[in-house]
């Protein structure tokens, strides 16, 4: 396979996704969600592509992408590590936990680790308040983590 076709492939998939959903009543957010799954993030080129395929202004797409926390215009790590910043977590030391994780990974909040393994971000309440402070990797929730050793142990499970 030439690099050229490799590059085309995700766009081909996206085109099919759009084609399938184009005539539904409210497909944009869902299409963006799938596009983010395919590309890992939503760079402006992808947004322009969707705009052209759906025949809507790219400004509208940009507006939606930047409105919702779920969408990202920056490449993300293999795993997203979300630290819960809900009230319960906050009063029980979420800022300290964030600092600890950030220290362990040597990466500031909001950024991706050099090896591309984790993207660190804060999330609104995940609703696991009784285990506060909590962080989430993918769909796994980790609560009552209080020491650096515990953090390191959890992170080691994600290769």
């Amino acid at each position: 396979m030439s690099p050229d076709t490799q590059l085309k492939q995700p766009y081909q998939r996206l085109r099919e996704v759009i084609e399938e959903r184009k005539n539904l009543r409210n497909p944009l957010i869902e299409i963006l969600r799938i596009a983010q799954e395919i590309f890992g993030y939503l760079p402006i080129e992808v947004q322009e592509f969707i705009a052209a395929e759906m025949n809507i202004p790219v400004s509208k797409i940009y507006g939606v992408v930047t409105f919702y926390n779920f969408f990202s215009m920056k490449p993300r790590g293999k795993y997203t590590l979300n630290i819960c910043m809900g009230t319960a977590c906050y009063v029980k030391g979420a800022p300290k936990l964030a600092q600890m994780i950030s220290d362990v990974l040597d990466t500031p909040m909001g950024e991706t680790t050099e090896d591309g393994r984790f993207t660190l971000s804060a999330v609104r309440c995940v609703g696991a308040c009784s285990l506060a402070p909590v962080f989430v990797i993918g769909e796994d929730t980790f609560g009552r983590v209080e020491t650096k050793d515990q953090v390191e142990k959890v992170l080691a499970q994600y290769k």
């Binding site: 009543r25 507006g63 919702y68 779920f70 009230t87 319960a88 609104r124 308040c129 009784s130 609560g143």
Partner: protein, 589 residues
């Protein structure tokens, strides 16, 4: 003999605490032994602080619930139960004898949470066996308006926070011309510190579907949406399973149970925007646009989703409906107070001993919730305040602990009932820091449409940051109050209008803390780092040099075996010295 059942609580909290491993251990144990035991999954029973939780039933000991169960111990505990001699170490609830949390459960009244932690949320059979879909069957034989009358008669008020009478709202939609109408379930539970809806969605999804079906029949809607936060993957999974099962049994779809009534239900996942909990914003988000609120009127009842008459209720409101139909409006009114009948579900969290999900009758005092249902404050500390209603709400101080829980009494304190987040704060919590936290939240979640909300909240946040870093002026308090008033008047939706509430209530009840930060440049609870100073008590310092080695900026000097000194100009207030000193010689003030 009755069959022995074992239930494992597999809601998000349980799974996060390791309940999955307990379940798998039991599964393989039961496979290899030939014990006649039925293993089941269930949702959240509410005692999240005891997760993972396992329930045994059917043996001589009756129904018992065990908390903080380790996968290593579970098979031994099961064998003990089967032999009739269960050690008490993990016992939290028991039907036949004393157990440590029997009282906590006894103070609750469960309508919405009736099935949570009892039935398997993935099984429509179990929902039906618990009386599920009976209310729908009864309703389908009534005239639609009779249903609305029942709901109106019950006095049920919207559980999303504002407390608008549900029956009245349904009546508005009923009065609109058809044929196309929508019902929506607002499951965009965005308040930080609130997880009521998540637990109901995960633990009893059919109850919400049945509630929506009853509403749709009454109002003449044939299509509905559940708008659920994407942060709740397990809730979405259980909803999908429930919708499929309900469709297979013709509770959903065309000509439901042989009648003319048809109803289709969709799930719409949110994409992470707090403002989408506001009804007009939520509808725009379903329409695939930016979730920005629009001016009301027209209200959704007149012109909602795609311009059609639409009724939006939150999860808990819908979940109350089947019970009201089955038991009648009078039975509902018999619980709670005159103006606020029924129960309320709260997510109790923060510095309380028994954090978890509770359902209490309206009219109970906050004191009883914290001390009787919640088991008091953690680690024997003193209660300082309780935060209700998330970023739109406020803090209620100790002197108002006897406030009763109903819409009007809570509003009178300056807080709001909200959707049910209840975060307990103790003596170690700084109220300026709490206000700053909420402002930070609303400021970053403001959609930007209204100038006062977009810029005003930012200015308020800047003032709070100034205060907590020791640069505040006494005039800042007036500035905060003025801005709060303007933001309240100048914003279109509830997010903006209520954004200043956390600041206003903390100013009202904890003004002295603001003044301590501004005038004395001190944080009484030592939370605001910029206001801390670290020094070394010469009489206690042994000159062991440990703190100096730990200090990341090397600002501690001194010869061995002689008192050391911290250079305050260089100190970054990280607290390493304080934590490492074995002689309590480092003074934090």
């Amino acid at each position: 003999m009755q069959a022995i059942t074992v239930k494992v609580g597999l809601a998000s909290c349980g799974i996060a605490a390791g309940a999955d491993n307990v379940y798998r251990r039991l599964e393989s144990y039961l496979l290899e032994s030939s014990k006649m035991v039925q293993l089941k999954r269930t949702g959240c029973i509410g005692m999240c602080f005891e997760e993972p939780i396992v329930e045994f039933d059917g043996g001589d000991l009756g129904r018992v619930t065990l908390g903080k169960v380790d996968p290593k111990d579970i098979t031994r505990l099961l064998d003990e139960y089967l032999s009739g001699h269960l050690s008490e170490t993990h016992l939290i609830l028991a039907d036949k004898h004393e157990a440590k949390h029997n009282d906590l459960m006894g103070a609750q009244t469960r309508i919405v949470l009736k099935n949570c932690g009892v039935i398997d949320p993935q099984s429509i059979d179990e929902y039906e066996q618990s009386g599920g879909y009976q209310a729908l069957k009864q309703v389908l034989e009534m005239r639609p308006y009779t249903v609305i009358d029942i709901v109106r008669g019950s006095g049920l008020r919207g559980r999303g926070g504002a407390g608008f009478p549900t029956g009245l709202k349904w009546g508005f939609v009923f009065d609109q011309p058809g044929p196309k109408k929508y019902v929506i379930c607002n499951a965009d539970e965005g308040d930080p510190g609130a997880f009521m809806d998540r637990s109901v969605l995960e633990g009893d999804p059919h109850r919400i579907i049945e509630g929506m079906l009853i509403g749709a029949y009454a109002m003449g809607a044939d299509e509905g949406y559940i708008y659920c936060r994407a942060e709740y993957p397990l809730a979405i999974k259980h909803l999908r399973i429930a919708i499929q099962a309900a469709t297979e049994r013709n509770y959903l779809g065309s000509n439901i149970l042989g009648t003319d009534f048809s109803f289709t239900l969709h799930i719409k996942e949110g994409a992470g925007a707090f403002v989408c909990g506001e009804e007009t914003a939520l509808m725009h988000s379903i329409e695939g646009m930016r979730g920005m609120p629009t001016l009301r009127p027209p209200y959704p009842a007149e012109s909602g989703l795609w311009g059609k008459p639409t009724n939006i209720n939150n999860v808990e409101t819908w979940a109350n409906i089947p019970w009201i139909i089955l038991n009648g409006p009078q039975a509902f009114r018999a619980i709670g107070t005159q103006q606020s009948p029924g129960t309320k579900v709260f997510a109790l969290a923060g510095k309380v001993a028994g954090s978890g999900l509770i359902e209490v009758p309206m009219g109970i005092t906050i004191r009883d919730i914290i001390y009787k249902v919640g088991g008091g404050i953690k680690d024997g500390k003193n209660f300082k305040a309780i935060q209700l209603g998330g970023p739109s709400g406020g803090c209620i101080p100790a002197e108002l602990l006897d406030t009763t829980v109903d819409y009007d009494s809570i509003n009178a304190t300056g807080a709001i009932m909200g959707s049910g987040g209840m975060v307990v704060m103790d003596e170690d919590t700084c109220m300026v820091d709490v206000a700053k936290y909420f402002l930070h939240f609303t400021q970053s979640e403001s959609c930007g449409k209204c100038t006062y909300c977009r810029i005003g909240t930012r200015r308020m946040l800047e003032i709070l940051e100034r205060i907590s870093s020791g640069k505040g002026e006494i005039e800042d308090i007036d500035r905060l109050q003025k801005l709060a008033e303007n933001i309240n008047h100048g914003s279109l939706c509830g997010l903006g209008q209520s954004a200043p509430n956390p600041v206003l209530t903390t100013l009202r009840y904890f003004r002295h803390e603001y003044e301590a930060h501004i005038v004395d440049k001190k944080c009484p609870t030592q939370v605001c780092v910029d206001l801390l100073t670290f020094s070394i008590d010469e009489t206690k310092c042994k000159g062991c040099h440990v703190c100096a080695l730990r200090c990341p900026v090397k600002c501690i000097t001194g010869k061995r075996k002689q008192p050391h000194v911290i250079d305050p100009a260089v100190c970054i207030k990280c607290g390493s010295c304080f934590n490492s000193c074995r002689f309590d010689a480092v003074v934090k003030a």
